[in-house]
Amino acid sequence: MQATKTPATPPQGRTMRRVLEGSFTRGQIIGGLIALAVLIALPFIYNKDNLTAWNMKAIFVEPPVLIGTMADAAQYVILAIGLNIVVGFAGLLDLGYAAFFAFGAYTYAFLASGHLAQLTGGKIQIHLSFWLVLFIAAAVSAFFGALLGSPTLRLRGDYLAIVTLGFGEIVPAVFLNLGNIKIGDTSINLTGGVDGISGVDKPGIATFGLGSGICRNLKMNPNPLTGGCRLNNLNPEPYYFLYIGIVVLLVIAVSNMRSSRLGRAWMAIREDEIAAAAMGIDTVKTKLLAFASGAALAGVAGVMFGAKLSLVGPNSFDFNTSVFILCMVILGGIGNIYGVIVGALILYLTQTIFLINLPNALNKLGTDNKIEFLAKTDWSGLKFMIYGIILVVLMIVRPEGLIPSARRKAELRGETGEPRALVAGAAGRGSDEAERANPVATAERESLYDMQTEEQPTERNDR
């Protein structure tokens, strides 16, 4: 290679720095650590003891409820990060993402509850560890992601959206109906039907030789069987810390993926699939990996869901859930991990805390200030309208999301003012000319490539 040698001084470009320094900029590391510190400090500052000591009333929501809700929100943060891989990175619209959430939750419910023992009259007892099932469920969900993806990922855009929509509808229905199968004279209740599977195990934590005596101090229950501790629903703090830890690990993993060869390939496919294929990217395999990775994250979230709620039923994974997660991704800033985290937190907390408490708060405000209109209106019927208005306004004000990725922002707003987008550039100078020169061939190529790709798997090179 005899290209002109680059200067000896280390290159200082943005892209190069990203390669050398890793997946996080210094700003992201500092911001992340500050956010983490605030989150960790939260239960220590905002708790019942402090409130009594300071002679204060709870602000909007009682401390344990807030912490528990935050632990639930962590599941949605992971779901949003996972869907962001599929929609934000690879540009594949998935409208049935909650199905993979369901696979994760049911996997945990089967492998860590008394359900199988009940089913088999006590012959089979499986109580696998929460930690082990995290990986198993990720693998199961990824498998179903690949299974759904392999025949459908050659579809594009709207078609893929419709197939995933159908998949998202089918999966909860299957889990519902597996609760009542009749083979011969025996009816089997495999999934608990509409009631779901209850009594799902709580996560266990090893005490590393400190003995289960310390469990009470850490607001957990001692587990005499293993000598470790077990989380319980009365004290959400252990869940809160545990789930924050899982979120942090997954954020690092996904950021690493994003800034790797794989992440670049996803982006390239999102930008221009034909060019990506011509650059040596196996588009089907790469899209499949995006689908499977996203599904794996949903599987992890599913396990966390089952472990926190102790109940896994088919109603938690319907189309609304899929759309809810998609809203988090779009509203937070599609393509940006930090954006979708913020989006997930805001939407989840708005729905679970703000909207629930809004009617009473408004009524109280009315009574206190003698505003009859506020006091007498039944706001509970209007809260979802308010929610809808918030979403619509946010989308009008910031179509690129709250914290958009630089690329998406550039796409939507145009960075330089002068629109020199490739599309515009091509239409303006180059391809106008090219297209005039060869209109038939160009049109043909576009339409026929679509047909061509659909045949491809059977045409693999046989060398």
């Binding site: 390239a268 294929a277 196996d282 599309v423 060869n438 038939v440 026929l448 090179n461």
Partner: protein
Amino acid sequence: MALLEASKVTKQFGGLTAVNKVDFDIPQGAIVSLIGPNGAGKTTLFNIITGLYKPTTGAIIFDGHNIGGGNPSKITELGIARTFQNIRLFANMTALENVMVGTHSRMRTGLIGAILRTPSAMREERSVAERGLELLDFVGLGGQEDEYAKNLPYGDQRRLEIARALASTPKLLLLDEPTAGMNPNETREMTDFISKLRSERGLSILLIEHDMKVVMGISDRVSVLDYGVKIAEGSPDEVRNNTRVIEAYLGKGQTNSKPINPDVAADTAG
């Protein structure tokens, strides 16, 4: 032996035969041009060679491998890279990222390496980025690596597309109208650059071009397609004087066999 040999390649789109029994080869280290009037099937032939289309019949042997109808990514791996007639860069990625995507098929990092950022993955990433910078320098885009592709001027976008194609270390480079939309000055620069690609990098080049000055200036051999059929082949001079070629471009009735004025031909084509 020729680097690429196509024999009796035919591509039909329904009733339309876009490429009809074309025999065709590219010798090692040669610059071969493909010309022809609009709709002659030049780009279709490109798409067949790069695997975007599967030929209806016929075989294409590249470097000892049969690539007819193979997967585009596999063909790139074997050593064929291309640019597009209407630039297809990754608009919202930086210039360096575009080039790094071009290296995709030469990288090994898998899912696990990506997630854990293993030392070998990092080494690879670093060397690919450094090579990307070298390539950007080579095509004259040094210092532009952080610019989004869409913000580059038109001529630079063409260069970036070539840099991206070179990143896959091809043996054969397919250029689809590299000078389309360029002014005479830019065209001259591009022509020199293409010669440099061969002399400095030892690449074989297949070129689709409408600008006859470019074609006649740098080609070792010119093949002419018309309605999907190869009507002539030979050195630039032979093709220039070929009656069938003149007929294809200017129509029948032109009986004198005066050489085509390159400017006239360019105008008819462009």
